[in-house]
Structure formats: structure tokens, C-alpha cells
Amino acid sequence: MSMIQGLDNNSLADNAEGNQYLTFLLAGEEYGVDILRVQEIKGWDNVTMIPNTPDYIKGVINLRGTIVPIVDLRARFSLETIPYGITTVVIVLRVNSDNGSRIMGIVVDAVSEVYNISEDALKQAPDFGQAISTDFVMGLGTIDEKMIIVLDIDHLLNSSVLKALADQESK
């Protein structure tokens, strides 16, 4: 296990070109996630709703026998929700948390590109009180004069679960 991770880090992450990021579109902005965390990308399909959960948890799907929760990223970032269209996709990600890794899916407007961004090129995000807390942003990258918001998915998705948990308790 540790060997495989080590291999990932050495061969892919630390090369001169930097990390690869899969980017996707959400309300006109381009966001990036570490490509090594992406399990697969699939089209939007109906989900099974889970009762008494926050509205950004769309429900669960069957991913080859595993029950995977789906988070609507627009709803998570309190952006205006739009009806799902033909470009709407679910990006299935591996999220690391204190007690092992989980598989979760995020609903985004469309997938975009795969970019190489070196670690040095990632700039710290300024805190402007925007909808997305800077806690969830690993950094800002620039590709062809375009800004890419690189997300810290571990923090983002774990805190989604935690928040849901807290919501339920306060109920």
C-alpha cells in the first residue's frame, strides 16, 4: 500500500512539469482537482435520495456494487442551482480522511481539461469572503491567462459530511 502511494508521488507528482489537474466548470469558473484522486467521470443519472440530509447531498448511486454519495457542488458552494443538462457530469473522487478513504461523487456543470501545474505556480487565494471559503482552496493556478481554482477535496468533502452530521444532531 505504502509502496504504491510512494510510487504515485515519485513518478507522477514530483516530476518537473508539476501535478496534473483535472479541471471542470462550475458557474463560469474553472476549478481543478488532483487527477490522481479521480476514479472516473460519468454522466448524470438518477440518484436515490437519502432522507434528512442537507440539500447539497443529492443522494447515493450504485457504482459497481458500492454505495457512493453524490454532492452537488453548486449547492455546496451556495451557487444558484441550474437544471442538469447534457454536459452535467459526476466526477467520482477518492477522498482521504482520518479514518481511511471514501469514494464520493461531485456534480459539476462540465469537465474541461487536464493541465500540468507546478506546485510553485499555485498562488495562495486571497480571502474576500467569497462563497467558497479559502479553506477549501489549495491555491490558484494560471493557464493561458485563465485562473484555475485548485480545490482541496479532502477538506471540502470531509467537512461536507461533518457538517451534515452536525446538522442532523442539531435537529
Binding site: 434528512n52 447515493v60 454505495i67 457512493v68 471514501r102
Partner: protein
């Protein structure tokens, strides 16, 4: 090359705990005075492995401790020490200490060094005391143990034939190191036998093809020589012959233990070929070709398969040892499944309507294979309940001496199998019930004699399958439950009214109420009154029930009924709005159409349904789950009467769909626990359906009604 040995640490712990269990079982089975040499050997071997392993991993305190224990066992093994009760008790205590030490180390906690050194000192004292007296016994005054042994054997040395089996290197052993160690015992002459060496191009550097003939001079004992080979004795052919110097003719011993697993895969390969052949013959040609490809590849892999499989299972957290026969059955089944699949594939390629018959046959075969495969996979998780029962001899042994009672433990049905998870969770409740029976159930010998019963009380543990359940019975021939005292106590605690008349059975059930204990004195063993309700709750969490039957002065029987597995359940599919939910069939009492006149509403919004003179609260699932139903009018839907948490309720749903077996998937793996749901499953069309947790729902709806009342009060 550096090896990260920490990855083997888990295996070491697991094997050590198994070793400790073995030691405990054997120690309890020892006959004081005339101990069985084989048992002592087994205990010794277990201790030796733990010592060796802990030394390797640098756990020196464990190694030191085990060393003393081992010395003691060694003396017993050689017959230089009698097996006495105090010694056995001390060894049992040592096993406990070792277990504590290893547990602490595994969890990286502090080892209780006071307790360790205490027992360590006791062991030392025992060793010293006996050693002194042993020396007195020997008139000639032999100086030390080793020399004494050597003197008896009086050999000039040893001829050792050492032929490692080819997989020796894979066990982590190195013949060179063994020979080096031998050389420390005396003068050494070794010659190597190259006859098994293959041609250079066929040589596999990972296999050992060498054998040695070793002549060891000096006065080492056979024991010492054997010790050198202790790690490899199952992985080599070892012949040790004494070079006789005098009159005594020495024994010749051939150790030829081949690992037993090796022959089985051959048998499997043959068997599966035989079994599948007829099917292959009827199947189209391409399948036969595929089959032919598979056959040769399976032959060379069979030998390494057994060590590899062993490693794989140990590396995972919480592993299961699976009988090779179960694995064989699975391989067989998968083979047949593959054949059926390729047959269907072939059929699908150029399908015409006249072959529809064949298609149907293929599909039903597929269904049969899938079902068998599923059953067999479930079998893998099944373990005999003896894993759980095995701890009781020790418990009874310890408690009976503590309580000054004479108790005989009988066990039957130990081979009854149940799911590993269920087994892990049933352990504590079982211990509790057994403790209770020993403490409160069985009377003291004097009391028993006075009642005209045999002095020795009998505790009987029994397990068997009944329907889809496993039934575990704990039966004692003790005093039985004291109905009057339970009644008194229940009235005192306000559980029942003073003038309430209850049947004996109802009274007996009261012992499962929270905070109930009738023991006059709270003893070390039981009687704090936190027990039985926890037992009942734990069993209920597993989807089981516990019952008690008791008769004064005849005894009591606790009967636990549990589902065989937590992985599959029989479910009733219900529809609510667009969603499909599953209600476990076990909790459903009946389903009915709602009659408007039977519904009544009490203030605060709670609705009740009158069913045969009982009032059931109606749970509107759509309100609790906040979804849109097809009907809001009760009369248009159906009511599923369920029982959960000891209470009946009616769940209002839109429609009943079918019943089917569903495989339970956890929501927690990737998400979290959701109240009112016990998990999810995947339906035939690939969509996810949620499984309702009836007890949780009853609670949810209770809270909801309370909250509504509060709101109403505020308004």
C-alpha cells in the same frame, strides 16, 4: 535490500494470539500429575514461536518473559519437573500477562510493568525453588541440566542429514545461518549434495535445491541440535543420528513432515477438470479451446499458491482463515460460471428465435450457479461457534475456584457455523450470561447436596441451526430464577404495580429491564444490574432475540436466536412517492388496507390505528423523510404493521412491491450513518434502495410527535 519488517508485525500479533489461545486450551486440558507429553510439546512450541517472533521484532520484554516460561515448560517436557496445579495456574496467569503485553504493544499503549514483573518473579521463584530440589535428588550431583542430559546420552556427536524443501527461502530461512549456528555447538564437517540441482538454465534462484550431510562433533545434546532446526522443521527433511561412542544405541529419527496443504491443490486441479469436462463437451468448440489454455497454466502455479494465499490473508486487518475445501468449492463454481457465461456469449453472437429454448436453459443455469456461488461465498464468512465457545472452559475454571463452586462445563454443537461479524458481537453477551449462570444460577456444593442434587453443577452450552437462524442455549441445573424476589424487586423499582398479577414468564422477562439486579450482594462476578438489559440490547442490535425459561431448583435456560448473517436479509419492497424502500421481513407482522373508521387522532397530531383492540401509532414515512408521496390520504395507502424496539407501529406507505433477498451495503463506508436507515442495497435494475431501520424509525417518529407537541404548546 532493506525490508520493512513492520508489515509483518500484524501477522506476528495474530499468530501470537492464536498461540496464546492454544496454550490456554492445552493448559486447561492438562492432567495435573500425569501430563500428556504431546500437550506440553504443543504449549512449548507456541511459547517458542512467540519468543522467537518477539525477539525478531525487538519486543525484548515479551521475549524475556516468554523465555522464563519456556524454560519452565522445557523442564516439564523433559520430565525434570512435575506438572503441579500451582505451576499450571501460574502458567495460565503468564498467558494472561503475555496477552496483555501484546495487546498493549499492538495498540501502542503502556505495558503494565508491575504486573509483568510480579508474574515474572513468581516464575523465577518457581524455577529456582524446583531447580534446587531437583539438584538434591540427583545423588551424583550433576552440575547443570544440560550436562546431565548429555551425560545420559553420552554421544560423540551427531550425523545430521539436512535436506530443505524447495520453498525454504520463502519462509525467510537461510540454511547458511542454520549451519553457522550449528558450528557453535561443536566441530563441524559438512558436505553438500548437489544431486537435486537442475541445469543452469532451469535454475530458479528462489528455490533451494541443495542438501547437506553434516557431522557435528562435541557433546551437544540432541535437544540443542533440534533447537537449531526448530524454525525449519516443517520445511525440510531432517535426519539426526547419533555417532555412537559407547554401549548406548541411539535412536534414529526421521522427521519428514511435508506441509499438508501441498497435495490438495493437485487434487483440486484434477477434480475441477473432471467436474467440468462433461459440461465442456456439450459446449461449443471455442470453449474447449479456452479450457485447454487454462489447464496448463493452472499446473505450474499450484505450488507457490499455498504460501502466497497465507500471506495475503494475514496482511489484511481482521483476517479469516478459510478451510481449503471451501476455497476449492468456490474455484469449482467460478469455473462453471465461466463456462456458462461463454456459452451464453456464443449463443448471443448469432441468436435466432429457434434457439430460445437453449437461451432459457443457459439463463437458468446461470441463475443456479450465481446462487450457489453466493451461498458459498457466504460460507467463507462462516466460522464454527467453537471460536466463541473456546473461551468458556477458562472462564468456568477461573470462576468456579473463585466462587468455591463445583461446575462441569458441557458444550455441544461447537461446529455450528455463523457469520464472523455476528460471532464477534455475540461474544460479550455470551460471557455475561455464562457468568450469571455460574454466579447466580448454580448453587454452592453444600446447598446442592442439601437439595438432593449432585454436588457438581452442570452448565451446558449448546448451539444449533433452526430455519435461517442460529440458536444458542445456555442451560444450568441451578436454582432457577427466584420469581418472588424478582417480583418484589420490580415492585420496588416501580416496574410493575403492587397488585399486578403476572405469569411466571412475564416476571422472568423483567430481568432484562434496565437497572435490574436481584443479587443480594454485588459480587465481583456479576450483580451490578447493568447486565441483562445490555445483553438484550446487543442481541437485538444483531437482529436477534433472547428468551429465558426457568424452573425453581431445576435450572434456567437462556435461548438466543440470531440471524446467520448480517450480510443478507429478506426484505419487503415498498413504494413511497418515487422511492423504493425495503423493510426487513423479520420485523413485519402484517400489512393491511387502512379503514377510515379505525383511525383516530389524539391531541397533538399523533394518529392511532385500532387493530384488534390494540392501538398502533401510525408512522407517516413521507413526513419523517420529507418526501412527496402519491397519497396523503390514509385510506388510499397501505399500512405495514411492524415491531421494533419492543413496540408495534404501523408504517404508512403508498404501495407494496415484491419480496426478495437483498444484500446489505453499508452507507457508512462512503458516507455516514443515517437515522432511520440500516443500510442500502442494489435492486435488480441497478438502482439503490434504502433499507429501513424499524427501531430507529419508531424512535424518530416518537421524537417528531414530541417536537410537534412542543411547537403546539409554544403556539
Amino acid at each position: 535490500m532493506s525490508i520493512d519488517i513492520s508489515q509483518f508485525l500484524d501477522t506476528f500479533y495474530e499468530e501470537s494470539f492464536e498461540g496464546l489461545d492454544t496454550m490456554e486450551t492445552e493448559l486447561l486440558g492438562l492432567n495435573v500429575g500425569e501430563a500428556d507429553a504431546e500437550s506440553i510439546n504443543t504449549i512449548f512450541r507456541a511459547a517458542h514461536s512467540i519468543k522467537g517472533g518477539s525477539g525478531t521484532f525487538g519486543l525484548m520484554n515479551v521475549a524475556d518473559f516468554t523465555h522464563v516460561l519456556e524454560t519452565l515448560l522445557d523442564e516439564m517436557r523433559d520430565g525434570r519437573r512435575d506438572v503441579t496445579q500451582p505451576a499450571v495456574d501460574l502458567m495460565l496467569a503468564s498467558v494472561d500477562v503475555l496477552r496483555e503485553m501484546l495487546t498493549a504493544l499492538r495498540n501502542s499503549e503502556e505495558v503494565d510493568s508491575v504486573r509483568v514483573s510480579e508474574v515474572h518473579d513468581q516464575l523465577d521463584a518457581l524455577l529456582k525453588g524446583e531447580a534446587a530440589s531437583a539438584e538434591d535428588d540427583i545423588v551424583e550431583g550433576a552440575v547443570g541440566d544440560e550436562e546431565e542430559n548429555a551425560a545420559v546420552n553420552s554421544t560423540a556427536g551427531w550425523n545430521i542429514g539436512f535436506k530443505p524443501l524447495s520453498h525454504l527461502f520463502k519462509t525467510g530461512n537461510d540454511p547458511v545461518r542454520i549451519i553457522k549456528e550449528l558450528s557453535e555447538l561443536g566441530s563441524l564437517k559438512a558436505s553438500v549434495d548437489l544431486s537435486a540441482m537442475p541445469e543452469f538454465d532451469l535454475l530458479d534462484p528462489e528455490e533451494c535445491c541443495l542438501a547437506w550431510q553434516i557431522e557435528l562433533g562435541g557433546d551437544a545434546t540432541e535437544e540443542q541440535v533440534r533447537d537449531v532446526f526448530a524454525w525449519v522443521d516443517e520445511d525440510c527433511e531432517l535426519v539426526i543420528e547419533a555417532i555412537v561412542s559407547g554401549a548406548a544405541e541411539e535412536l534414529e529419527e526421521v522427521v519428514d513432515i511435508e506441509p499438508e496443504v501441498i497435495p490438495t491443490p493437485d487434487a483440486v486441479a484434477e477434480e475441477s477438470v473432471v467436474n467440468t469436462e462433461p459440461t465442456t463437451a456439450s459446449a461449443p468448440v471455442s470453449v474447449a479451446a479456452e479450457k485447454a489454455e487454462v489447464k496448463p497454466s493452472s499446473v505450474p502455479t499450484k505450488k507457490p499458491a499455498s504460501p502466497a494465499a497465507k500471506k495475503g490473508s494475514a496482511a489484511e486487518l481482521g483476517s479469516i482463515r478459510v478451510g481449503i475445501d471451501k476455497v476449492d468449492a468456490l474455484i469449482n463454481m467460478v469455473g462453471e460460471l465461466v463456462i456458462t457465461q461463454s456459452m451464453l456469449n456464443q449463443l448471443g453472437e448469432d441468436f435466432t428465435m429457434d434457439r430460445v429454448q437453449k437461451l432459457q436453459e443457459g439463463l437458468s443455469e446461470l441463475e443456479r450457479h450465481t446462487r450457489e456461488l453466493q451461498e458459498n461465498v457466504m460460507q467463507i464468512r462462516m466460522l464454527p461457534i467453537s471460536f466463541s465457545f473456546n473461551r468458556f472452559p477458562r472462564l468456568v475454571h477461573d470462576l468456579s475456584s473463585k466462587l468455591n463452586k463445583k461446575i462441569e462445563l458441557k458444550m455441544s454443537g461447537e461446529n455450528t457455523e455463523l457469520d464472523k461479524t455476528v460471532m464477534e458481537k455475540i461474544g460479550d453477551p455470551l460471557v455475561h450470561l455464562v457468568r450469571n449462570s455460574l454466579d447466580h444460577g448454580i448453587e454452592s456444593p453444600e446447598n446442592r447436596l442439601a437439595k438432593g442434587k449432585p454436588e457438581i453443577g452442570i452448565l451446558h452450552l449448546n448451539a444449533y441451526h433452526q430455519g435461517g437462524n442460529i440458536v444458542i442455549e445456555i442451560n444450568d441445573d441451578g436454582a432457577g430464577l427466584n420469581t418472588d424476589r424478582i417480583r418484589e424487586k420490580a415492585i420496588e423499582k416501580g416496574l410493575i404495580g403492587e397488585n399486578e398479577s403476572l405469569s411466571d414468564e412475564k416476571i422472568h422477562e423483567l430481568i432484562f429491564a434496565p437497572g435490574f439486579s436481584t443479587a443480594n450482594v454485588v459480587s465481583d462476578v456479576s450483580g451490578r444490574g447493568v447486565g441483562m438489559d445490555v445483553v438484550k440490547r446487543n442481541i437485538r442490535d444483531l437482529g436477534g432475540v433472547v428468551e429465558v425459561k426457568s424452573k425453581k431448583d431445576v435450572g434456567s435456560t437462556f435461548t438466543i436466536r440470531l440471524p446467520l448473517t448480517l450480510a443478507i436479509l429478506d426484505g419487503q419492497l415498498v413504494r413511497l412517492g418515487d422511492e423504493t424502500y425495503i423493510i426487513p421481513l423479520v420485523s413485519i407482522i402484517e400489512s393491511l388496507q387502512i379503514k377510515a373508521e379505525s383511525v383516530s387522532t389524539i391531541a397533538g397530531g399523533a394518529e392511532l390505528y385500532r387493530l384488534r383492540e390494540e392501538y398502533l401509532p401510525i408512522i407517516r414515512l413521507h413526513e419523517i423523510f420529507e418526501i412527496t408521496p402519491v397519497n396523503r390520504e390514509l385510506v388510499n395507502g397501505l399500512l405495514v404493521v411492524v415491531e421494533g424496539d419492543g413496540q408495534q407501529a404501523g408504517i404508512f406507505v403508498d404501495d407494496l412491491l415484491g419480496q426478495q433477498q437483498v444484500v446489505i451495503k453499508s452507507l457508512e463506508t462512503n458516507y455516514k450513518k443515517v437515522e432511520g436507515l440500516s443500510g442500502a442495497t442494489i435492486l435488480g435494475d441497478g438502482t439503490v434502495a434504502l433499507i429501513l431501520d424499524v427501531a430507529g424509525l419508531v424512535n424518530l417518529s416518537r421524537e417528531r410527535v414530541k417536537a410537534l407537541k412542543k411547537q403546539a404548546a409554544v403556539a
